[in-house]
Assembly symmetry: C4
Homo-oligomer: 435 residues x 4
Amino acid sequence: MDIERAHTPGYRESTWIDLLDLITAIGAGVWIPMKLGLLAFPLDFDIVVDFVFMVFAGFCAAYALCEYWRAVKRGVVVDRSVLWTRVLTDAAVALPLVTVAGLAGTYTEPFWCVKLLAIRHVVRFPQILSRLGMPHPALGRLFSLVIVVPLLVHWAATGWIMLDGGAETADLRLRYLHSVYWAITTLATVGYGDITPKTGPQMAYACGIMVVGVGFFGFVLGNVASLLARLDAAKVQHEEARDRVETFMRHHRVPHELRQRVRDYFSYLWETRWGYDGAAVLADLPPNLRADLSLSVNHGIIEKVPLLNGASPELIRELALELKPRIVVPGEEVFRHGVPGAEMYFILNGDVEIVTPDGQTLARLHGGDFFGEMALLTNKPRVATARAVGYCCLFALQRETFKSAVGRYPDFEAKVSAMARSRASGDTQAGQGQG
Amino acid sequence: MDIERAHTPGYRESTWIDLLDLITAIGAGVWIPMKLGLLAFPLDFDIVVDFVFMVFAGFCAAYALCEYWRAVKRGVVVDRSVLWTRVLTDAAVALPLVTVAGLAGTYTEPFWCVKLLAIRHVVRFPQILSRLGMPHPALGRLFSLVIVVPLLVHWAATGWIMLDGGAETADLRLRYLHSVYWAITTLATVGYGDITPKTGPQMAYACGIMVVGVGFFGFVLGNVASLLARLDAAKVQHEEARDRVETFMRHHRVPHELRQRVRDYFSYLWETRWGYDGAAVLADLPPNLRADLSLSVNHGIIEKVPLLNGASPELIRELALELKPRIVVPGEEVFRHGVPGAEMYFILNGDVEIVTPDGQTLARLHGGDFFGEMALLTNKPRVATARAVGYCCLFALQRETFKSAVGRYPDFEAKVSAMARSRASGDTQAGQGQG
Amino acid sequence: MDIERAHTPGYRESTWIDLLDLITAIGAGVWIPMKLGLLAFPLDFDIVVDFVFMVFAGFCAAYALCEYWRAVKRGVVVDRSVLWTRVLTDAAVALPLVTVAGLAGTYTEPFWCVKLLAIRHVVRFPQILSRLGMPHPALGRLFSLVIVVPLLVHWAATGWIMLDGGAETADLRLRYLHSVYWAITTLATVGYGDITPKTGPQMAYACGIMVVGVGFFGFVLGNVASLLARLDAAKVQHEEARDRVETFMRHHRVPHELRQRVRDYFSYLWETRWGYDGAAVLADLPPNLRADLSLSVNHGIIEKVPLLNGASPELIRELALELKPRIVVPGEEVFRHGVPGAEMYFILNGDVEIVTPDGQTLARLHGGDFFGEMALLTNKPRVATARAVGYCCLFALQRETFKSAVGRYPDFEAKVSAMARSRASGDTQAGQGQG
Amino acid sequence: MDIERAHTPGYRESTWIDLLDLITAIGAGVWIPMKLGLLAFPLDFDIVVDFVFMVFAGFCAAYALCEYWRAVKRGVVVDRSVLWTRVLTDAAVALPLVTVAGLAGTYTEPFWCVKLLAIRHVVRFPQILSRLGMPHPALGRLFSLVIVVPLLVHWAATGWIMLDGGAETADLRLRYLHSVYWAITTLATVGYGDITPKTGPQMAYACGIMVVGVGFFGFVLGNVASLLARLDAAKVQHEEARDRVETFMRHHRVPHELRQRVRDYFSYLWETRWGYDGAAVLADLPPNLRADLSLSVNHGIIEKVPLLNGASPELIRELALELKPRIVVPGEEVFRHGVPGAEMYFILNGDVEIVTPDGQTLARLHGGDFFGEMALLTNKPRVATARAVGYCCLFALQRETFKSAVGRYPDFEAKVSAMARSRASGDTQAGQGQG
């Protein structure tokens, strides 16, 4: 599989580069504003930090350059300008200009500002986090929002310190705390008013923070809320379907006993995890992946059905794509005697009774059993009625699918025929139905 | 029906366990933070509370264990890890560790913290409330949000007390009120500023409350708003349809008289409760439930039509699924003479005139009457025109449905034929139309 | 049409009752809290107000009773319990209990509270306003939200006065202003902190206002925002279509010249008001209303086409439903010579050139002209190409529609045939095309 | 193309008029409230400003008049009342009433207020900005919201100054800053409380600002947030598709290895920019524009395929519309030997192996190659299997499309046939597949 991986742009080997980007961005976001706001570190310390940036950003720049070169060589349709921008900005961050300026005795601040370029990786956080194996893409976005909020507060607080805010305390740590407290009070629009801007520049700064920051906070909150609401999309979809039916029932004043039966049905649907319809989801995927996903999802039923044990993997793969799930409510008839049938059924769980036209119960089937298999072999009408005892999860297999499978897998055809013959000859075993 | 209920996982008998969960969660949420914040209760009191927790949570743990065991035994596809987590946490809450620690003379606080695990039932509130018979699932979610807000305020307030907040008053009750007041002022972002954090820890605590709490409040408010907006989904749907048509009419400058007619139509639709289309809703349900719901909704028309009185329940059930509702506006023709017809109509309410080609009114029909029944028996064109006098709600019965019903219910066929013959022979009774 | 109106439940004659409900509700909402909060009016004044309520609410109750009786008599499917509730509450408001209690010398406050029931009409405001002729249902909802906000502020302010809030000023008017100011400061979460609760009850009241009121304010603001956003649904739909195409073009890096052409197309669409597709909207309406709306919308084209002038109203009504709008961009070919055609075209505006296969321009047609009519009469291929010069709005008429119209309206057939013959005979007039 | 442009209403030549409208509106919005609030400018200055307004608004009025006249003359379906309103309001703004009043020695304020009419162009900002060439319509709306916020703050601040707010400082600039600071504090609901209304009018003004302004701010923030969220619609759509699949996989507990493969597929889709489906977008456009867009988007593949180099532009245009994109995942079979084929494939990028039934690799194809061309010429089954090595982007060409193209472009047919013959004769070149 090495060849395939090599052909996938931006593949797994870049994971540690992603991590480096992440750390560099957060480091730059935290350190540089503090450096600019407090100005209280000796030169030696600056040089050490500069060196760390050089190493981290240098690696990233080098890697991006390699990727660019590989993309050019292989003619991949990746967006090259993006890679090019990354090479340039990472190189700018990596250059040890602060050390040079510091040793030369000039101001280092402008060169720190250049390093702020590293923060632009922030916009790639969701992508980086999802590549680092975040279980859910929405979680990645949520986490990157959660990282951005403290960064924003930090920047607002250091800016406040730069304008002599929090000067009421001499202790640097307390001053930082006071500034953070002011920043949060303002950004969250609480505005206690115990720390307020006094000078003109402070007022102007506060105005800017209020307009930009409040908007940003609203945006972040709105996103966090909608992300949280979407985290469990399966549940949301289930509840919407339920609300629709409830509204319908209330609107038409359906009696309470019937409402309760409908609610039971939805509870059952949710607890057995069958409520979430995958068909629409799978339609987006290429056939290969779709088959693998179907196989993975329907594996449970295939393991439980003795008839399928020992079948060839190709057959199982084919059936997994074709089995149609169906839920029957207590007392519902799966099929009725005398009606021509075109499907056989596998029981995932729940009980089904096979009843003769005169009301005699022939058999009671459980999870793992199958019934109605005669319909696949002959075109004759059903000879008995199948009725659900409680809630049942069934999988239906269409005759057409069966016929095409039978042609290619003669073993399976023989097995089903033998089973059908043995039942038809009157030998009704427990846990086996009549077709 | 016992068998069916036994096969439904998580069925009704667990209602009182749900209630126990609810009470335990709220009790733990209210009591433990207060205990930790105020520390002003004697040991005896603690032991009593501990005992109550032991009883409540013990029952819950035992029940969850039983359910787990039953699920394992019956091979139900319920999510077992969820049950297992419940058994463990409920058992941890039930253990009387506080009593042991109190009698041993050591700190009881850590053991109270363990009991906070009971609060995790909070996430199950919507589900519990809907099982306890909450009339609308959205109401359940609304109610659980409404429970969570005071809990959050309570926690914020007790935390504030722990950090010596509200120390300006000696009276414990007043101090709690002050703290709650501070918490709400902060969470709702009002921030009067009459009570503000003074010490470093208080400031840090206030920062945390502002960031987390404000986001949470926004989330709750957003949810409450969207829940309220969705409570009456039928109305929302009706208003959207109306807005669409209004926008269309304004965009194309439709004259006011015509706009008013369209508005009247929508008012009529809403007041007769016919505006909400159930077809899409019912499509989600299995056939059995769908038939019961249709029967329940269309029961009114069936009771009002004398022709159907005394019909067999099976026939009525079948017709309820097949009757198609139709609204006609004043002056609209239901059918026109000379055109071949394939439907008969039942009038739910409103008046319909049967008019001959030369403009003579043959009959005026009211709610409960039917007309156009000749179309079901013969293939001849309509011999008269049926025109609505005011707004009318009709139900249409297709010939195909009728034919299949007639085959199985010969009584009904005879009744309709007799009625048609008597009308066709010129004997036009009031309240009876011409086919 | 009197009969029809009488059959329409809740028809126009109730307009003044709606107005009465509106005034009573607002009056009760404004007056009673002020009365309860300030307690500064003499008994005579109370009796006058009580009398006004008696008259207003009495009328409403009597009307609702009549409506109820009529609904019962005619067997209309209107929701009777709603009417019944209205009768009871209006009667409770109408009873002059305040006068009785005042003259008897006991407290009148409880009886004022009973009159607060009149406020429940608030929930019917959107409906009332739309019946009073509000041009847009969303405007009605907007207006009722705008009414509710001052009511809420008023209630919060009078409650504050009841708890001795605003007691720093003796002047009653200033005290009310201070209370309103406090209420708005709190509800809008501004919370200056210049007026803050001091006593326990005030604090508790402020807490309640903050939790309930802030949620309500958020709800109202959210609704106002979404109502404003939806006010011009046609524009929203247009912009969404445009954004989709812009996103597509940016994603695929389409060159700027082509982007500009697409933008021009959308501008043209919007400025000619053709962008809003009515088909989906009209599908909700019954056939009668749909025909009237189509006729009204397409009236412009029918007036401009000389061919249709003098046609019978039935024909015009039929054509209005069948004309299919089509926009062609500059240089696009409406049809090409040699291809069999099945449509004729009417030009609403813009210019179309008729070009022979060898590139010679036969004619240049303008708004009001038609072309391609030969396709309706014979099945032969087009003998020329029709190409748009600038943007053009056309209406296409299908051959099938034409054939059916021709059968019923022989005058029209003769007119079109004559026109086609005169053109085919080589007599090409300016402003007339070749079929 | 001049004729076409002349026929497009509101075309490009009005760009500088749009700019004039923009400047006039912003100028009036900034200047007039300041003038009314501060009253501190000499008459000469007023006359100069009045003159500027006269020139700017005069030009706009004259232009709108011309447009109106042209629309009337050409009978365009543009909304004339809109143009008429523009003429009148621009003329009112242009009249030098302030100069007249100033020279006559009376109050100039009422005449400044008339000039506020110019602000109404604000509602046209999004449209103006999009015509001025804003790259994205959403950006235009965003920018106009961003312009409106400072205007609103400015108005609130000048109103505050008019009511003697900010009177604590004598310096006019500082007073303006204080007022702006108060306005932002209030509008953003921060409400520090260091500057609060003292007098009655100030309180009433603050109440108004709070109710209206807070609502407006919420509206603007909500819009900005949703605009930002929609800016990259392609990304949003991609993430939603991804979230759906992730939810499905988590819900059904799909194993991690398979989840990772699905994630890789989505990453590939996004990085190659193939994820955004244009079909729905293009369906809104007229055929002419649709063809041009398709050609522009698929240009890359056409340039890379040697077979198509030198083909006539008409053929390329036709093929661009018909090529169907398809992504294959590593190991997936594009087609299988023995199955009849109806498509040929062009490789955009990625590698495809042609394998014989006995597993021998015949060829390995790269970007720019094509394969499966035999299927277009004959109806025989595939003689080999084509399997993707890594991820591949292919374009499929249907036999029907090819046949119709071949009829009209014999050169192309000859080229493909020659290629197919040379391959079929066993001469398998590198980079060429077997059909």
